[in-house]
């Protein structure tokens, strides 16, 4: 019997190695896998590259991970926020590398990785600083920038319910990056509010099929 549910956050997170690229779901607090991030801090893996929409708020969650010195590079769309104190300080001190990616390109590059595409011509960013030195092409009278897939060793996401096959459903705008990050990582760990029995999730309503998920941890 395959059972992807796990009682232990630490055990699930133990697969992360120094130098890994880790995707972290969430947009603001919605869909942020806070307990998994805390477990990653406890785990202590270093020299990480983090792919996430933001770069942490206040001193908890992703900000705490940065503060702990575990992150070499952020790939994100919106690092600077009113309370991104930790990132701001590290960035201004030159202690963290930043790859700034327009939000739609971020989503699309993650989806491209999960879908096995080699690269995509995207309309966003053409003619801007964020497309500097990138290949461009005019197709049907419109200009596009060539962007490459964003993959990860591990994705940490938050879902609402999950079952032992790894099927997931989300809650409201907490869905955000979860479904596409799950596709783009070698190993996806989902923290869920509730683990349910196999068959309790309607097959028509499952948002992330279990094939994209390796561990489900109820928190």
């Amino acid at each position: 019997m395959i059972d992807k549910t796990s009682q232990s956050l630490q055990q699930a997170i133990s697969h992360i190695k120094d130098g890994d690229t880790v995707m972290i779901g969430g947009f603001g607090n919605a869909g942020q896998p806070s307990q998994l991030i805390d477990a990653l801090i406890e785990h202590g893996a270093k020299n990480l590259t983090i792919i996430s929409n933001n770069a942490g708020n206040g001193y908890h969650g992703l900000a705490a991970l940065l503060k702990a010195g575990q992150v070499d590079k952020m790939i994100c769309s919106f690092p600077r926020q009113s309370d991104s104190y930790v990132f701001d300080e590290l960035y201004l001190a030159g202690k963290i590398e930043l790859e700034l990616v327009p939000q739609g390109n971020l989503a699309c590059r993650i989806q491209a990785a999960g879908s096995g595409l080699g690269a995509i011509f995207t309309p966003t960013g053409y003619g801007t600083l964020l497309a500097e030195d990138k290949e461009t092409r005019e197709i049907d009278g419109k200009n596009y920038v060539l962007e490459y897939p964003l993959k990860a060793n591990v994705a940490l996401i938050k879902a609402y319910k999950g079952d032992r096959w790894g099927n997931l459903v989300y809650r409201k705008t907490g869905r955000n990056f979860g479904p596409i990050m799950a596709m783009a990582a070698d190993l996806t760990i989902a923290q869920v509010n509730e683990t349910v029995l196999l068959g309790d999730l309607d097959p028509e309503h499952i948002i992330t099929p279990g094939i994209f998920v390796q561990h489900v941890v109820e928190v």
Binding site: G28, N29, S77, P102, G104, A107, T128, T173, I180, I207
Partner: protein, 214 residues
């Protein structure tokens, strides 16, 4: 004759009046968010928020605030009957695939050819952030700007050429400011509305790019 700037509320009202029923609309973070307050409630407008919802409703009462139900500005919102949730790739497909009828954005500068600058002031040492700005600029069928006519220091924001970093090229269709509504056309900037008492010369004096009555 003298003239008075319209208030932010009046600008929001003016924009709301120009949105036909049934349009799919994304209202940018900041000032444009207010436009929602002036859309007639007896008609159907479809508000999109790029973090993954369509059919966005007004802010909830405090007791009904839900951490998992926020808009792109990370404010608590509600969902109307008939609304839906989806993931980020689908959400930006709506935007970039040309399915959104209108996006209203704030701006630092708009050039006479419709170039937009609204994501970075280009200051050295500033921490950059772009979010969905570049996607919103190029994706929607129409993109309007809602902004003050000039900077606080009195510099023009409607310019011949951008001096701030580009968000998107030739992407703006219309500009609403506290003094006027201006269409960006292949023949240049055309003023389609001005506050009472204002002349085209008054407006031109505050505008770097050439304007004419539309």
């Amino acid at each position: 004759m003298s003239f008075t700037a319209r208030s932010q509320e009046e600008m929001a009202k003016a924009i709301a009046k120009d949105i036909p029923e049934g349009w799919y609309v994304n209202l940018g973070i900041g000032q444009p968010t207010q436009i929602a307050n002036f859309l007639p409630t007896d008609k159907d407008f479809f508000l999109h928020s790029e973090n993954g919802l369509l059919g966005m409703g007004p802010a909830p009462i405090e007791i009904e605030e839900d951490e998992d139900l926020i808009n792109a500005g990370k404010q608590y919102v509600t969902l109307l009957r008939g609304g839906s949730y989806f993931h980020h790739a689908d959400s930006f497909a709506m935007m970039r695939g040309g399915h959104i009828d209108l996006c209203v954005l704030g701006a630092y500068q708009v050039a006479e050819n419709g170039d937009l600058a609204n994501w970075s002031t280009g200051k050295k040492g500033a921490i950059p952030a772009v979010g969905g700005a570049m996607d919103l600029a190029v994706g929607a069928k129409k993109v309007y700007v809602m902004m003050t006519h000039q900077t606080r220091k009195g510099d023009p924001k409607i310019v011949k050429n951008l001096t701030f970093p580009v968000t998107g090229l030739k992407c703006i269709d219309r500009i609403y400011t506290e003094y006027a509504t201006i269409d960006v056309t292949p023949d240049g900037l055309k003023v389609i509305d001005m506050v009472e008492g204002m002349t085209i010369d008054d407006l031109q004096a505050m505008t770097e790019a050439p304007i004419k009555l539309g």
